[in-house]
Amino acid sequence: MNKDGNEGFILKEDVKLMNEKMTRPEKEQVTFNKDRIAWRIGLNNFAKHLFFLSTVFAIVVLGILLYQIVVGSIGWLDWQFLTNNLSIFPEKAGIKGAIMGTLFLMMIVIPITLIIGVATAIYLEEYATEGRIQRIIKVNISNLASVPSVIFGLLGLTVFSRMLNLGPSILAGGLTMSLLVLPIVVVASQEALRSVPGFLREASYGMGADKWTTIWRVVLPISIPGIITGAILSISRAIGETAPLVVLGVPTLIMKIPTGIMDDFTVMPIQIYYWTLDTVLTPEYAYLASATIVVLLVTLFILNSVAIIIRNKFQKKF
């Protein structure tokens, strides 16, 4: 439309004018500032390297940490160290008791967290309808996950150790730890159950199966890799956790090896804790602590590798 209002009729002059209008500002902008662009690109590259350094910083620290600990443990970590009982003489000391304590603790933690955790996840994902109870449980689990572990220690001390009169036994420690790692199992199991596609459930219902049969025969078998991965992650958290057990009053000077769930016990992290504290008196304890850390980290590494293998190998894609 031109000035006179003649629609669909464009004069040659108009075209010329339009062309000029379109090109003129562009010509002005073409004279950009090369210095400024170089500055911007330079800044970008600088920032890139800065961000890279901050990522690498964490990894370098990890390297130093592992190096320090491995070097500290050399000469101290041998078969004798794994099979000897605790001793006040650094040369004779071993962590058999702590290893057995950790194993016993896991015998309590694994079944309890798996049963309660998976059941909670099944309730939330399969049975619960949108409502107040479901919301309360969900909010509760996410908050429980962020309660400091030392608070769980106070809970264990009061309820399991004192009220139920279990003392600082393996049972009391195991129950406390189970509650601590429960949210991890619940969240992992929820994700595993959620990843089971709806059409499999519908197919099961279509065949006349009821809800429980569907869950037991269809949903659970498919989500087992995810559940096991979550369980292993929670176990490795429980193996490394120290604070709740210290609060529970788990002693370190246990000369005898635990034989039952009511026995007193010690675990690897607690052994590390006391040896670290006592380096002031006996400097050799630092090496013992390093050696125990190596054993602990290797255990965790194996567990996590198994979790990753299970996740990659058995996870079905639909």
Binding site: A58, Q68, P148, I151, Y273, T276
Partner: protein, 324 residues
């Protein structure tokens, strides 16, 4: 209806179909009769019971903390709690919790000064700059860092970082706040990095491409588009990191010591709330003494702190989330 292929009622085939369908219906009816829906009625109740265990745990925590804190506050006046003198084991015990709050405050601040810049840098690098191959290598290593037990960090802080810092700062005590603060920050880096990275990755690709298409560099895209768009997630990750730092126990117990002085000197030992709980329970705190109940009072304060901070993080993540 023709399209659906309705079979003529008189044809032989339809007779067959009818019989079969009757059979199926009968089978279904029989099945329904056989089953009295026992499992479908009982199972939800069993699972609900299991699910409620976690709720009971929370109530258990709140109950034990409040119940024993009441005993503490009935014996110790509130004004004493807000004093700076903490000497639970002396003949005239005094329970001023300010030194503990002070210690927790300083370790948390130092940890945040380390964790937030480095964690954010790592998050930006991994989500915006890194190639897929580099990402595949770096991300698992950061996850390893996150999986190391805190007791190991405690040992590292006490036996490596503190001696190292002593060379730089000669006046540094064997137990101090600086070293565990720094190590705690390193421990929290993966948490800040991975949560912030998730938030940044959630920004739609279109926005990023739009900014790049207008000629901005990656840095400008990040600072002017990605970070403003994911700020709620980033802030939430920092707030969660603060909560983690406040609740962290073993690093500060080992490396920060148990001095109960009210001081602002980070080269000296300070006790945090968590370290106080550990020190007091692993010592011989007899049940029933005021000192024993003071554990629960400190625990209650710690619990309330972390709870409030977590609720704030959840609120920020929900309220200020940009929906695309």
């Amino acid at each position: 209806m023709k399209a659906l292929g309705v079979i003529h009622p008189n044809s032989d085939r339809s007779g067959e179909m009818k019989m079969e369908s009757n059979n199926v219906r009968e089978i279904i009816q029989q099945n329904i009769r056989k089953k009295n829906h026992f499992s479908d009625k009982l199972m939800p109740k069993i699972f609900l019971f299991m699910a409620l265990i976690s709720v009971v745990t929370t109530f258990g925590i709140v109950y034990t903390l409040i119940f024993d804190s009441i005993k503490f506050f009935s014996q110790v006046p509130i004004s004493e709690v807000f004093s700076t003198k903490l000497s639970p084991l002396s003949k005239n015990p005094s329970f001023g919790f300010l030194p503990l709050l002070n210690g927790t405050f300083f370790t948390t601040i130092i940890a945040m000064l380390v964790a937030v810049p480095i964690g954010m840098g790592a998050a930006i690098y991994l989500s915006q700059f890194a190639s897929e191959q580099i990402r595949k290598i770096l991300k698992p290593v950061l996850e390893v860092l996150a999986g190391i037990p805190t007791i190991v960090y405690g040992f590292f802080a006490y036996s490596f970082v503190t001696p190292l810092l002593m060379k730089l700062i000669p006046s540094l005590g064997a137990k101090n706040v600086l070293s565990p603060g720094i190590v705690m920050g390193i421990m929290i880096i993966p948490m800040v990095a991975s949560l912030s990275e998730d938030a940044m990755n959630a920004v739609p690709e279109i926005m990023k491409e739009g900014a790049m298409g207008l000629g901005s560099t990656k840095l400008e895209t990040t600072t002017k588009v990605i970070i403003p768009a994911s700020i709620s997630g980033i802030v939430a990750s920092v707030v969660l990191a603060i909560s983690r730092a406040i609740g962290e126990t073993m690093i500060v117990t080992i490396a920060s010591g148990s001095a109960k002085n009210f001081t602002f000197d980070i080269t000296q030992s300070m006790q945090t709330m968590t370290a106080y709980i550990v020190e007091f329970t692993s010592g011989d705190a007899g049940s029933g003494t005021v000192g024993y109940y003071s554990l629960y009072a400190v625990g209650l304060i710690l619990f309330i702190f972390t709870l409030i901070i977590n609720l704030i993080a959840q609120y920020i993540a929900r309220k200020y989330r940009e929906e695309y």
